[in-house]
C-alpha cells in the first residue's frame, strides 16, 4: 500500500506542481493569475495523443509538436485574455477573461476531440507495477523542468530579464527591457510547461477534455500552499498535495478524500495566508 501511495501520489503531485509552475510563469511577468493553466496541461495530453496515436507520429516529434501547439495557446491567452485587462489589474477583470478563454478551450476540445477519455500511448514501455513509466515519467519531467527553469532564471540573460520584469515592471521598462515581448515569451514558456505536464501525465490521466478543470483546481492548490510566484514552493506544495490526496484515498476513499484535501488546504491557509514558502509584502500606508 505504501509503495502505491508513493508512486501514484508523487506522479499526481508532480503534475499538480507543473501546473502550479505554469500559473507562476504567467503570473511573474503580468501579475495575472491565468486560469488557463490547467487547460494548457489538458491540451498537452490531447495534442500528445492526437499527434502520436491518431496521426502516428514518432513520440519525439509528437512531443515537440505538442509543446509548440501549447506555446501557441499560451500566446493566444496573452493576446486575448491578458493584454486587454492589464491596465485595470485592480479590478481583477482577468479572472473573468482568463476563465472565459479556459472555458472556450475546454468546449472546443470537447467538441473537436470528444467527451470521452481517449487513450494515450505508452512512450517508452519501461517499468511495471509501481515502477511503471506512467508513475515516474511525470516526476522526472517535473524535476527536469524545475532544474531548467532554475538554470534559465539564474544563468541566462533572458531569464534574468524575466526576473527583472517580475520584480519591478516599471523599473525594467525604464532600463529598456522589452516588457511586452518578454511577457509574450513567458506565456509561450507557460504553454510549454503546461504541455510537458499534460504529455508526461498522459498515461496516468488519459487524453480527456475534463482534465482541464481538474488541473486548474488542483494546480492552484500548490501555488497557494507554496506562495504565489515561488516555483520551489509550488514543487513542494504539489508533491505534498499528491501524496496527501493519495493517502486520503486509501484511508477514507471516494469523495471523502477530496474533503480531506481541502480541509487541510484551508487549515494551512488559515495558519499561513501567504503560503508556506511565500513572503508577506509590506504595504505603504
Amino acid at each position: 500500500m505504501l509503495a502505491s501511495i508513493l508512486a501514484s501520489g508523487l506522479a499526481a503531485g508532480a503534475i499538480y506542481a507543473l501546473v502550479g509552475v505554469t500559473y507562476n510563469t504567467m503570473y511573474s511577468t503580468s501579475r495575472v493569475m491565468s486560469f488557463t493553466a490547467g487547460q494548457l496541461a489538458m491540451l498537452g495530453g490531447v495534442f500528445g495523443s492526437m499527434f502520436t496515436l491518431k496521426l502516428g507520429l514518432p513520440a519525439v516529434v509528437g512531443f515537440a509538436l505538442t509543446l509548440m501547439a501549447c506555446a501557441i495557446m499560451g500566446v493566444i491567452t496573452e493576446f486575448v485574455a491578458v493584454r486587454p485587462v492589464l491596465k485595470n489589474l485592480d479590478q481583477h477583470l482577468y479572472v473573468l477573461s482568463t476563465l472565459a478563454v479556459a472555458l472556450m478551450i475546454q468546449q472546443v476540445a470537447a467538441i473537436k476531440w470528444g467527451t470521452e477519455p481517449q487513450p494515450f500511448p505508452r512512450l517508452l514501455g519501461w517499468g511495471s507495477g509501481v515502477w511503471d513509466e506512467k508513475f515516474w515519467l511525470p516526476v522526472v519531467a517535473c524535476a527536469i523542468t524545475i532544474l531548467s527553469l532554475e538554470y534559465l532564471y539564474r544563468r541566462t540573460l533572458v531569464g534574468r530579464a524575466f526576473l527583472a520584469i517580475a520584480e519591478d515592471n516599471f523599473a525594467a521598462r525604464a532600463l529598456g527591457l522589452p516588457e511586452r515581448n518578454l511577457r509574450i515569451a513567458s506565456y509561450a514558456l507557460a504553454g510549454v510547461i503546461g504541455g510537458v505536464a499534460g504529455f508526461s501525465g498522459g498515461e496516468l490521466l488519459l487524453a480527456f477534455f475534463a482534465n482541464g478543470a481538474l488541473l486548474n483546481f488542483y494546480g492552484f492548490v500548490p501555488v497557494a500552499l507554496g506562495g504565489l510566484g515561488n516555483n520551489r514552493g509550488a514543487l513542494i506544495g504539489g508533491l505534498a498535495l499528491g501524496l496527501f490526496q493519495q493517502a486520503a484515498n486509501f484511508l477514507v476513499g471516494g469523495i471523502f478524500s477530496s474533503v480531506a484535501v481541502f480541509t487541510l488546504f484551508i487549515v494551512v491557509l488559515l495558519a499561513a495566508p501567504q503560503g508556506l514558502f511565500g513572503t508577506s509584502t509590506a504595504r505603504r500606508v
Binding site: M1, S4, S8, A11, A12, A110, I111, G114, T115, E116, P117, Q118, P119, G129, L204, L205, L206, F208, A210, N211, L214, Q246, N249, F250, G253, G254, I255, S258
Partner: protein
C-alpha cells in the same frame, strides 16, 4: 318551347335537391401524411445513440412508405436537432406541437431532455414514445401519453442483481458509482435492492471519474471480500482504470453493470485486451448472439435486411437501430388500427398492447403501466465481444 309553371316548380325542386346533396369534399384528413416529430440530439456530445436510432427510423419510414404507407397515407418525419440541450429540446417540442402539428413524437433520446419535455407533451396531449431510463419519466397518471420503449433504470438494476445472485451465484458484492447525480442515485438504489434480496454489500463508493488511480478502492473492495463489483457509471475512463487495476492486482473477479462497460472506446483505454475480459455489461436478448455466434432468427432477419439496405452496423448498436424501427412501426400500427391520427386513438392502441413483437423487444403497455420493455429480455453481455452492434451472451445463459 313554352315553360309552364309546373316545369318551373319541378326544376326549382330538382335544383334544391341537387344543392342539398353537395359534391363530395376531398378527404384531406385521410390522405395527408402522418407526421411524426423526432427530438434527436443529432450533434453534440450525446449524439452517438441518435445516429443509431435515426438509422432505424429512416429504415422503417422508407419501408412503410415503399409499401404504400398506412392506409395510403405516407409517413413524414419532422426531425429537430436538440444537440442534447434540454432548452433546445423544449423549444423544438413546442414548435413540433404548435406549428408543425405532428401527430406523435419519438424522443427525446436522453433523460435530461425528456425531464424537460415530458410535462409539455402531457399538457398538449401529444402521444410520445421514448427510450429514456429515468424512472420518473413514466407516470400514467401525470403523463398518460408517454410510453417507454426501453428498460427503466430499475429494470437494469433488477437484471444486474438477478445475474449476480442467481447466475454467478455470488453473495458478497461491491457497488461502485461515479460522483455524478446518476452515479450517486443508481448506487443508492442498487445497494438497497441488493440488501433487500439478502446479499451482503461489502463495499460501496462513489468515485470521481477523473481519479487517476483506482488502486485504493479496488484494494478496499478486495480486502472486504467482494466476489463481484457492480458498476454504475457512464465514464469509460474510470471503467478502464478499474479493469487495468484488477489486472495489476491479479484479481480474478467479474465486473457487472452499466452498458457503457461495453463501449468500443474501452478497447483503446485498457492496457491489454485481456483486461476487458470477465466484464459483463447490460445487454438485450434480441441483440445478443449465443455460443455458436447466432442471433435470434428475427434479429438475424433484421440484420440481413439492414445489410441489404446498406445500413451501417459496425459503428453503432443494433438495439438503437431496432428501437428506432419499433417506434415508427408502433405509431404506424396505432394509426392503422385506430383509423385516424387522433391522440386518443393512438394512446388507446398503445395501451392495448400485450407482447407486441418488436425487433428490440416484446412490448406490453396497459393504461396503468407504460414501461413497455420486459425485464426478462434484459441479459448480460460479454462486454468485449461487439460484432456489428451485437454482443455475446455472458456465461450462464442457455
Amino acid at each position: 318551347m313554352a315553360i309552364s309553371r309546373r316545369d318551373v316548380v319541378l326544376g326549382g325542386a330538382g335544383s334544391l335537391g341537387a344543392a342539398s346533396l353537395s359534391f363530395p369534399l376531398p378527404a384531406i384528413a385521410d390522405s395527408e401524411p402522418i407526421r411524426i416529430g423526432c427530438l434527436a440530439a443529432m450533434t453534440g456530445p450525446s449524439s452517438a445513440p441518435t445516429i443509431g436510432f435515426n438509422r432505424g427510423v429512416n429504415f422503417a419510414v422508407e419501408a412503410i412508405n415503399a409499401a404504400g404507407g398506412v392506409k395510403g397515407r405516407k409517413i413524414e418525419i419532422v426531425m429537430r436537432d436538440t444537440q442534447g440541450d434540454p432548452t433546445k429540446a423544449v423549444n423544438a417540442t413546442q414548435e413540433l406541437i404548435s406549428q408543425a402539428k405532428v401527430h406523435g413524437i419519438w424522443g427525446p433520446l436522453n433523460s435530461g431532455e425528456a425531464l424537460a419535455t415530458t410535462p409539455i407533451m402531457a399538457r398538449a396531449k401529444m402521444p410520445d414514445i421514448h427510450p429514456c431510463v429515468v424512472e420518473t419519466l413514466i407516470d400514467p397518471v401525470k403523463y398518460p401519453h408517454a410510453f417507454r420503449l426501453a428498460p427503466s433504470n430499475s429494470q437494469w438494476d433488477d437484471a444486474v442483481r438477478n445475474y449476480c445472485l442467481n447466475v454467478l451465484k455470488v453473495k458478497k458484492i461491491a457497488v461502485i458509482g461515479d460522483t455524478t447525480g446518476y452515479g450517486v442515485t443508481a448506487l443508492g438504489a442498487s445497494v438497497a435492492a441488493f440488501k433487500k434480496d439478502g446479499a451482503e454489500v461489502v463495499y460501496q463508493a462513489n468515485i470521481d471519474s477523473t481519479q487517476p488511480d483506482m488502486t485504493p478502492d479496488m484494494l478496499r473492495a478486495k480486502t472486504a471480500g467482494a466476489e463481484a463489483i457492480v458498476v454504475w457509471s457512464v465514464s469509460t475512463g474510470m471503467e478502464a482504470r478499474m479493469f487495468n487495476t484488477r489486472a495489476a492486482m491479479g484479481w480474478d473477479m467479474p465486473f457487472v453493470g452499466h452498458p457503457s462497460m461495453a463501449s468500443g472506446e474501452l478497447a483503446g483505454l485498457v492496457e491489454k485486451p485481456e483486461n476487458w475480459r470477465k466484464v459483463y455489461a447490460i445487454g438485450y436478448k434480441s441483440c445478443s448472439y449465443d455460443a455458436a455466434g447466432k442471433l435470434p432468427p428475427k434479429s438475424q432477419d433484421l440484420v440481413d435486411r439492414l445489410t441489404r439496405a446498406n445500413v451501417a452496423l459496425h459503428d453503432t448498436l443494433l438495439w438503437w437501430i431496432a428501437g428506432g424501427i419499433d417506434a415508427i412501426e408502433l405509431f404506424a400500427k396505432a394509426v392503422e388500427t385506430s383509423g385516424s391520427t387522433d391522440a386518443v386513438g393512438i394512446v388507446a392502441y398503445l395501451n392495448s398492447l400485450t407482447k407486441y413483437p418488436g425487433y428490440f423487444g416484446n412490448y406490453t403497455f396497459t393504461p396503468t403501466q407504460h414501461n413497455g420493455y420486459p425485464t426478462d429480455e434484459i441479459v448480460m453481455s460479454e462486454a468485449s465481444t461487439a460484432k456489428n452492434g451485437t454482443f455475446a451472451l455472458a456465461p450462464g445463459y442457455s
